[in-house]
Symmetry: C2
Subunit: 593 residues, 2 copies
């Protein structure tokens, strides 16, 4: 990897020139995006590691990369031959970045660490600065971006066109959404806010773009005051029609780079800034009184309206049809030979693309056969792709963007004979998956409170997974959406009727296989009793769950009933859209156990 070494060398030259002893590259962009446009993939450029989460740190002598358990195996591979040492997050003995820098820079004369304030949130910078201070008084500089000097051939900020998202799918006008946002701001005693999250902006303005792979968002900021709303984006992205639309909704447009000026000219008494979202540089450029608080937009966006829910149902139906066409094709195709993790992904995407309103995939497909299934966020390449054989397990996590909704589904499929261990683990994961969907819970519970329900069957067997159990799903928007999640870590956001959330427990046994089973769910009102309101989950995903690996004796009768009922619904909903052969396949797949 000469390439990476050369980049590090040039970075160190710049660091020496600027008297910086270390530089930190996070994964994000000026909008705190989970997935970013290529322009901001600085961490990948400097380290070669392309996972969706990780932080690279380069000192004058060493380099290290922190990432989480999903990427341990992939990162190990990709960092091979580079200077970068892999730092496994949440593993005992792994130092924090600050602790590591404290030791690495102990003997350096320059105690300054660099980070680009534009691609780090205000709160993360504040926390990092405090942590560094404790490490022998390291200081942090945030106004220098070495990438601007050393990244030759850096991709430009995308200029892709933007389109208006039809009201028949959005279900609420921008005018109405702005009114609800302003009402929420008033409740937080704020006159306005700076919106920086790209999916929040897309939702608010009922507009979609294609600046980020799989996420139909566009690079922009939205500055809202009590009287006006201004979109900061590259005007080349907007057609006359889109400009007219924005004007009619009361939204002005200014160039993307003018957002700092916009903040300077902002004339109200105060402004709400969410320190977990707004980047450090913009946060610090505000001159009015700052109301520190949570942006209300995420929680407004998370509760879907009737049109959005109808859209989800339509998208899930189409996605289920594509999945059934794919699954009924899969086993014979594997038996015929020549299929790999990559070819089946192409087949699945082609089947989805045949469906009306298909706009693309919602994230890079994870197709992991046998041992590859144990790599949580595995992405097959033509080089790595395993040949599929009529035995063992295939973990398939995929999803699509349709104009009327976003899908996210995981199935683990037996391609032939399995080991007893595979059957046992599969059954336990399925139990967890079903147990969460069967749950009724008090209105206002947080995802953290529910997380153990999906894990209990696994815990009892000495198994566990380190990723979350579920996340919100956007309405023709990002496949990962907040503020709610179902996970071990504390997430105070309350689960509410109308929210979407995934249910995706899994087990990953390194070198052997992985199992994950995922439906996307809708939260609905279950009942109101003298103890209060109770909610429950309704599966939106329509696709059979492979029954062949199930060890029936490990299942409770309630779990079996649930599965039979789910399968009856799947057959009822999907069969009218299938040919005779597919229908017969589905009939067998969904037969009661």
């Amino acid at each position: 990897m000469m390439d990476i070494q050369e980049r590090i060398t040039r970075l160190r030259d710049e660091m020496r020139r600027e008297h910086l002893s270390a530089f930190i590259f996070p994964t994000s962009d000026p909008h705190n995006s989970e997935y970013t446009a290529d322009h901001w993939k600085g961490r990948e450029w400097i380290s070669g590691f392309n996972g969706s989460a990780g932080t690279a740190v380069v000192t004058l002598r060493h380099a290290a990369l922190w990432t989480d358990s999903r990427y341990f195996i992939a990162a190990e591979e990709q960092l091979k031959g580079t200077e970068f040492q892999l730092m496994k997050l949440k593993v005992e003995g792994t130092p924090t970045i600050a602790e590591w820098l404290g030791k690495e820079l102990a003997d350096e004369a320059d105690k300054e660490v660099g980070i680009d304030g534009m691609v780090n949130t205000f709160n993360s910078v504040k926390e990092l600065a405090a942590d560094l201070r404790k490490q022998g008084g390291l200081t942090l500089r945030t106004n220098f971006d070495p990438l601007a000097r050393i990244w030759q051939g850096r991709p430009p900020i995308p200029e892709n066109p933007v389109e208006v998202h039809p009201i028949e799918y959005a279900g609420e006008t921008t005018h109405e959404k702005l009114a609800r946002i302003r009402k929420a701001l008033r409740e937080q005693h704020a006159d306005g806010m700076l919106m920086t999250a790209l999916d929040d902006i897309a939702w608010t303005l009922n507009m979609r773009g294609s600046d980020v792979h799989c996420n139909p968002v566009f690079v922009s900021y939205l500055l809202i005051s009590s009287q006006s709303a201004t979109l900061y984006t590259n005007k080349v992205k907007l057609t006359k029609q889109v400009e007219d639309y924005l004007r009619s909704e009361g939204v002005g447009v200014e160039p993307y780079e003018q957002v700092k000026k916009g903040l300077k000219d902002y004339f109200e008494y105060n402004i709400l800034l969410d320190g977990d979202e707004v980047n450090d540089t913009l946060y610090r450029s505000v001159t009015r009184e700052i109301v520190e608080g949570e942006s209300p937009v995420k929680r407004l966006k998370a509760v879907k309206n009737e049109r959005e829910i109808a859209g989800f149902r339509s998208a899930m139906l189409k996605d289920g049809i594509a999945m059934v066409k794919f699954l009924s094709w899969l086993k014979p195709a594997v038996e015929a030979g020549g299929q790999t993790e990559v070819t089946i992904d192409e087949k699945l995407t082609a089947l989805r693309a045949e469906q009306p309103l298909f706009r693309g995939i919602s994230f890079d497909t994870i197709a992991g056969y046998e041992a590859h299934g144990a790599i949580v966020h595995y992405e097959a390449t033509p080089e790595s792709a395993a040949q599929l054989e009529p035995k063992g397990m295939l973990l398939l996590d995929s999803g699509a963007q349709y104009l009327d909704g976003t899908t996210d589904i995981t199935r683990t499929i037996a391609l032939g004979p399995l080991t007893e261990e595979q059957k046992r683990v599969y059954t336990l994961v399925l139990k967890g998956h079903i147990d969460l969907q069967m749950l009724q819970f008090p209105d206002g519970a947080s995802g953290t409170q529910l997380d153990a329900i999906a894990r209990r069957s696994l815990w009892q067997a000495g198994l566990n997974y380190l990723h979350g159990t579920g996340h919100g799903v956007g309405s023709y928007l990002n496949v990962h959406e907040g503020p709610h999640q179902i996970r071990m870590e504390w997430k105070p956001a309350k689960l509410q009727a109308g929210m979407t959330v995934t249910d995706e427990p899994g087990i990953y046994l390194e070198g052997r296989f992985g199992v994950r089973i995922e439906n996307t769910l809708l939260i609905v009102l279950a009942e109101e009793t003298e103890c209060g309101r109770f909610l429950r989950f309704e599966p939106l995903t329509l696709c059979p769950i492979d029954k062949t690996p199930i060890i029936l004796e490990l299942m409770t009768s309630e779990e079996i009933d649930w599965l039979n009922q789910y399968h009856a619904t799947v057959f009822e909903q999907l069969s009218p859209y299938l040919d005779e052969e597919e229908k017969e396949w589905l009939r067998i797949q969904t037969q009661a156990m």
Copy 2:
């Protein structure tokens, strides 16, 4: 209630003199105790409400009292006829104290609110001050205690003698404990700490007192530096023998009132203060650099050593014997007539008192028959006590202090025929109780993550309880011990092997009945797998669980197996200590279902 009115009037006179428009009375004392010596029961004195949690607020015009769901019914009763309006915490529409004061004081010229900084933690005062500021700029004064002027006949600070807790029960010398505390302080970069929690001090010094009802603690502070440790307490409490003991463990003694001077004379570079524990007045009197952080003592104390665990087992055996003697007596006694909620409590306490090393009860018994069982923290008085009849349900939550351990147990007992609803609710609560005890979970999980396991069966039926599911239990110390808890609210403290914790789900149906079933558990290592270390619960409590209300069809076979196995253990452990009649009773009670 002329009495209360008169007190309020005198308080308002003082408030006017001091230009205060409101005064706030919390439940606590200078040590942030859950239960306090009578000297600090100012909230009870001013309002008449004697629950263990609540805050009274008096303005020049109105008065209100905030308490939680455990006390809604009791508070309603006790506040009747006073000016105090009941404010139900965690009920929709209930204003916070700050919000209420914002409205109440909107038209007052004086915008100052009073609170005694000595009986409120630093963090709670900080938070309150910030909340009041948002309410039209209300300010907070903390250096004035009106009770010192208006409370005639105020009980003095207790002067009860203190005793040394024998090493055979403590299991670790004070010398060793101080070394572990100092090591933990160094890890937090602190040279010393001020310990204010009375149970932490009692644990550290291996000393016990009797200053607080049911809690064997003594009023004191402990100031620890890297070289010395000083106990601030009324010297009249110490015998020559105790003074010698303290000297031999390297602990000096100064008068209780001298703690402020001690803090002034503290000569190290910095000092750890836990803002959630140290009171506002003392916190602000510190002149050295403050290391804000969590006191390490609670988590050291929470993990019991082998001697303490052996002591728990011994105490639970004795408590189980007393409980079985009581339960086998109960039904015939009720049938014979004349028993009330009070008389049976006396009987139970008398049976416990016959056991070796008995020191008293660990909290006021809750004996709630039928509708009284729905009052979560009901305490029967001779006036309120219901006559027990051979029908319906008795909820009995009780515990004892033995020199070798503290107990806490709840049983709900069918005194005769039950309604179908009672049987159903009893069975669902029992399922939750068992489900938590059957759980295996990852080492390091928090109680918040596990809480739903105990609630699931109830939630499915549209039932829920608003209190926590479990709390730590001290070793001949407070029956409520932190830092861990099992509850809906976020408690980050990790569950560790060696910790004790209760398991006490319940359901309370106002006007009808209440069910709670509680064991005290020990957390132990279950297994270590490729997914990490797993813990499980081992019941410490030894006492049959009434089988007569159980609807067998609602139970899973695993739950029934658990109950049968638990009952087999109970019989095996207790039967050698019972007479033939009691043994026969227990044999039937613990027969497999």
